[in-house]
Symmetry: C2
Subunit: 346 residues, 2 copies
DNA sequence: GGTCACTTGGCAATCGATTGCCAGGATCAC
DNA sequence: GTGATCCTGGCAATCGATTGCCAAGTGACC
């Protein structure tokens, strides 16, 4: 049966040396081969349906044309748009995406990165990093270009692309403050993620900047899940029954807050307002539709891929890019009740 | 700077020939090399941090250790769990996943498959196939092992893994029939997808088998999207104002049905019941929570990966596997209203 | 007419691992 | 003691594309 054509077959058909054929087919070598010859080679390649063997090519060139994408959990609705952005930017540049899921497990992250390195990926896009990930930190000194997405590792000196969470949180706080809320609760995510830290810091700063607002009441959830959000929101409500607005570290947690409110018999937004973060699909269809901070996931993916490509080959300094976020006001936020539950505890 | 160690370095350190080192490291060659020697080689490899160069290996072995995964749209919540299942099954077997998104575009599907073939993928998992996809049909005669997921190409002779949609639809019809619904509407997906056909055929059969039921009223949506579902549901309601239950080809369409009902001022489930298909994340949090047919997405991914691995190398006949589906009854279904809207048109 | 520069294309080495074949030595049986 | 058999490990070819170097050919210019 017909073996795949090689460059020698193409060369033979075009009546030239394989080296000539190789050069004729390489667009990076303009004018290196006479146009007439190059055209003959291209025609031969087309007739034969020739595609260069990537194994042979990368053996010689030391580049694989493959980028590893490490995600914490593809099932998390935030990630697919990012991966799509990455993938759609990389394909046209001749780069393919190897996707590895870590399930938020540091060990699996380590083995995924090791496996990806063993496969000689040209670059890595990592969305799974915890703030102290030794695995990721080690990448900074390695020879494979790396871009972090969404989750940063402070001080590691790696490039990073994410949404401008701080601005989003500021907008959210301003929004509820303008509605008249003075006692604000915050359900934060797990402390080992940079997103948690960024959002929490921004929250404190923004609340401090709102003259009428009391110090926010903060509780950490153990994970960015609905169940953890519910538990944290319960603890928060138990700690301070006077909060009239709860912001959540992300939409999953906000869903948990919804459940905790239902458990406590509190109506949203009549009695308590809720704000999420990320603008996951479908949160506009909840009851009530969730007010949340939208982050440009797809664009983040694109930007990460571009940044990575910039860094391939050349040795450029790490770069940080924050893309604009936007507060999407829906119906989970409203002015605080006049019959002041808040008043009780004053 | 230190170049990556090669098998020659390992061999030199262990005091053996590279060929011996290669064999010592190959677990498929048990006893080919004396255990003492093999241990020495393994130790050397470990000390040096040796990992074989995949390019060199696959150049020689003609296998890349890479599987292409072609999805129609990663953003569709049905797909991530499938991809995870595939990926988590393939990694431990030493296979990596190249993911390509086609955005439901036949041209992009064709170029993705071509690109994946050019990269010498060992196998392909395709979730994007339309019933008549020439691209996919051509894979049946090619030399790369292929497994279709979720969407089949009838008569192509390719392996297929999906949910048992027909059983799911039968259960859904039985459910609404038992609730007392007699006039059933169906918002079907686009006709060029096998899932649409399977589900629609099952619907007709199941309704015909329910003695009390009239012929179902069917309208096709142009795509599996909320907007298309809404438009189709409107047409359906306009065509027959007497339906008391609407089944949808998938949950996206069901969301569209919800919107169309809201537009028409009809309450669900009091006036009209709705059933979806797929059990997407979050549909349990809609108002009302959606009754739908759950398909085992993650398991489908796993099964597809297993099937593919079975077919790698050996030339096995195509195989079809349907995994059990399950009707999840929530609150979007209820008995039809007694004040018979239906009665009006009788 | 001669020299020089430039263009074009060929030669052969190279990337790193795998594997068919072979040889030396040990083991065993007769 | 001799021959057959097995075990172990080495030799070298091979996979297919790329690229540094070189040589032949072409044209220009003085």
């Amino acid at each position: 049966m017909a073996r795949r054509p090689t460059i020698r077959d193409v060369a033979a058909r075009a009546g030239v040396h394989p080296a000539t054929a190789s050069r004729a087919l390489n667009p990076a070598l303009p004018g290196r081969i006479a146009e007439a010859t190059a055209a003959r080679v291209r025609a031969a390649a087309r007739d034969l349906g020739y595609t260069p063997d990537p194994a042979a090519r990368s053996l010689r060139t030391r580049r694989s044309g493959v980028v590893g994408v490490v995600v914490p959990d593809l099932t998390n609705p935030v990630l697919p748009p990012i991966v799509r952005g990455v993938e759609e930017t990389l394909w046209p540049a001749g780069l393919a995406c190897l996707v590895a899921d870590t399930d938020n497990d540091p060990e699996r992250e380590a083995s995924a990165v090791a496996e990806l390195a063993a496969r000689r990926c040209d670059g890595l896009i990592v969305a799974s990093a915890t703030r102290d990930s030794a695995t990721v930190r080690a990448l900074a000194t390695g020879d494979v270009a790396t871009v972090l997405v969404t989750r940063d590792v402070p001080g590691a000196g790696l490039s990073f692309v994410g949404g401008d969470d701080a601005a989003g949180v500021r907008a959210a706080v301003r929004h509820v403050a303008e509605l008249g809320h003075e006692r604000i609760g915050y359900v934060a995510g797990p402390a080992d993620l940079s997103t948690t830290r960024t959002r929490l810091d921004a929250l404190h700063a923004a609340v401090a900047a709102a003259p009428a607002c009391a110090r926010p009441v903060v509780r950490h959830a153990r994970a960015y899940t609905v169940a953890a959000g519910r538990a944290a929101a319960r603890r928060l409500l138990a700690a301070d029954g006077a909060v009239s607005a709860i912001l959540a570290g992300n939409d999953m947690l906000a869903l948990g807050v919804y459940e905790a409110l239902a458990d406590a018999g509190l109506r949203c937004p009549a009695e308590i307002s809720v704000v999420g973060h990320n603008d996951m699909p479908m949160v506009d269809k909840l009851e009530p539709p969730l007010t949340t901070v939208a982050i440009p996931q797809y664009e983040i993916g694109i930007a990460a891929a571009r940044l990575l490509m910039d860094r391939l080959g050349r040795d450029r300094p790490a770069e940080r890019r924050l893309l604009p976020t936007r507060l999407v006001v829906r119906r989970s936020t409203a002015p605080p009740p006049v019959t002041a539950r808040a008043g009780l505890s004053r």
